[in-house]
């Protein structure tokens, strides 16, 4: 059931969208971004070490070198544990809820489940991100005190940031399921 398309994220890197239909009311969308590139890691490590070596050359202090190694190691661990997201999954189960999970490069997984009774709708929205204007998919959460109001907005695919064509595809199949369960 997997379908691959020529999708990219907003900065032009290729991403893949995998769509799995378990039943007509239960679908899973997985957006995977490319893995950590070895070249980039090497580049950063080399630049930090070269810098450290230059400082060492000037000051003749060996702690500089060891601290540079520590810095690169800790930085890499923090990066793959907290920043780099490999996969983002959206599991939508009709009349039960929507589950968002993101898998970090270190294998850490963070999951949130939102019950269907709290969800008002899923929409594509525009936002200003850094120095450009992008489209993103988001879940509108109902305001319990006010039936027509929106209490908050939960953005989806926050780290992979796919482009509009990919969002539209996810949006359409989500809308099908939401329409069924109403």
């Amino acid at each position: 059931m997997a379908e691959e398309g020529p999708f990219t994220d907003i900065s032009g890197k290729p991403i893949s969208l995998e769509c799995q239909n378990y039943t007509p009311f239960c679908r899973e969308f997985t957006v995977s971004s490319p893995k950590v590139s070895l070249l980039k890691v090497m580049g950063y490590t080399c630049s930090v070490w070269l810098l450290a070596y230059a400082v060492f050359f000037l000051t003749e202090n060996t702690t500089v070198l060891s601290s540079a190694i520590m810095v690169t190691l800790v930085g890499m661990i923090l990066h793959i544990h907290f920043v780099k997201v490999d996969q983002e999954t959206l599991l939508i189960i009709g009349s039960l809820g929507i589950q968002l999970s993101s898998l970090y490069a270190s294998g850490r997984e963070s999951t949130t489940f939102i019950e269907m009774s709290k969800i008002k709708d899923i929409v594509i929205n525009e936002a200003i991100y850094m120095q450009s204007i992008i489209y993103y998919l988001c879940i509108l959460i109902k305001d319990p005190s006010e039936p027509d109001g929106v209490a908050s907005v939960v953005p989806l695919f926050q780290s992979s940031k796919p482009r509009l064509n990919c969002l539209v595809r996810v949006y359409k199949s989500c809308q099908e399921i939401i329409a069924q369960s109403r």
Partner: protein, 492 residues
Amino acid sequence: MKSRRRRGDKQAAASCQPDAHPPAPHSPASLLPSGTARRSSQKKHSICMVSDFFYPNMGGVESHIYQLSQCLLERGHKVVIATHAYGDRRGVRYLTNGLKVYYLPLQVMYNQSTATSCFHSLPLLRCVFVREHITVVHAHSSFSAMAHDALFHAKTMGLNTVFTDHSLFGFADLSSVLTNKLLTVTLCDTNHIVCVSYTSKENTVLRAALNPDIVSVIPNAVDPTDFTPDPGSRDDSKITIVVVSRLVYRKGIDLLGGIIPELCAKHPDLCFLIGGEGPKRIVLEEVREKYQLHDRVRLLGALDHKDVRDVLVQGHIFLNTSLTEAFCMAIVEGACCGLQVVSTRVGGIPEVLPDELVTLCEPTVSSLCAGLESVISRQRSGSVPPPAAIHHQVQNLYTWRNIAERTEKVYDQACQQPVLTLPARLQRLRSHCGAVAGSIFSFMAVINFLFLLFLQWLHPVHLMDAAIDASGPDSCWRKSFKKGKSKDPHPD
């Protein structure tokens, strides 16, 4: 707040409709039914209005941009508005009829005007221009740094540019000299310039050293259905003078502070009704306390646009004490509500209303008092025309449809003109703006061009998603309202 205004907008848009059909002889726009008007302009433009001043800020420029955009949308053009973020109102919003507004997060420096560095707004504005497929950039107000920036960037990107100047400037003091130089630079290669009155045109041509042929005069307009007279709501046992303006120095509030005690001493049945807020409020409060006029001078504070009419109809005389004004919308609104108008004779004000509707005075306390005295005595003797007659006379003078049609012609004309290439632009800057400023700004133009090239490499056009046109061709957005609604995160 927003919902209230939107309701007002819808009323305004709806009330535009019946206005077109009975052909009124004075207004050239109303001569043509809307169908023919639509046919008359072959080309549909994509217009981006740029200004620092837009809702939720209130004022003449803001309502001008809004009403003009609405009428242009109605005529089938595509219009988006770019302004800076106001508080937590940032991002993309939709107003009535799918009018899209970009509230860009740019730093506000002074008086709601953004800080300018000529470059930092380029990425965001480029993004707006590219994704909306903009053909004409229309900047408003010379006070707005963002408008100047947008003109600068649009020319670098090779788009046609139009500028509307809403205000008059002096020539003498330092800030005017600086602003005038900036204006010379930004306007020297702008395709077309619009001024709101002939005085303003004269002023702008002089300040920016322009060729008068590329400057058009298109006045502001008021919606006459919003300002209808209601003689029943005023108290005829006394005479009420209404002042509605921001309480700032430019509006001559110090003059008002001189007038109030003098007239109140002479006429015990006179009272003042003052709407608006600003730093000069303290002047009026002190006058009120000093002369014990608490029962006769009422300060209403800041007014919503929809409440202005209800305040205006409570009075007999409308007073405007502005020290400088390009085109005074307030006196048209006052006259439209059937009030006697007394105003200072400054700027473009003498052009605005025919002589029988307005009493013009010099901007001094004694002259204004004399003018007011004569109007008061006329009011007492009952020799003034009834409010309904005044309203009838004013209502067809300035309409938004007329303005929109004239603006459309400006766009047609601007699109036919070539956009200068970089070498031509540099030459123009150097020949037109003097050696020093010309060289500096041609250097900036080159930097801007290089920055644009860098951005095109960093964030190429093919990676930007074109904006989905929420209003659609011929505004089909209104027909399939639900689909559009799901796009709006806060559909009120």
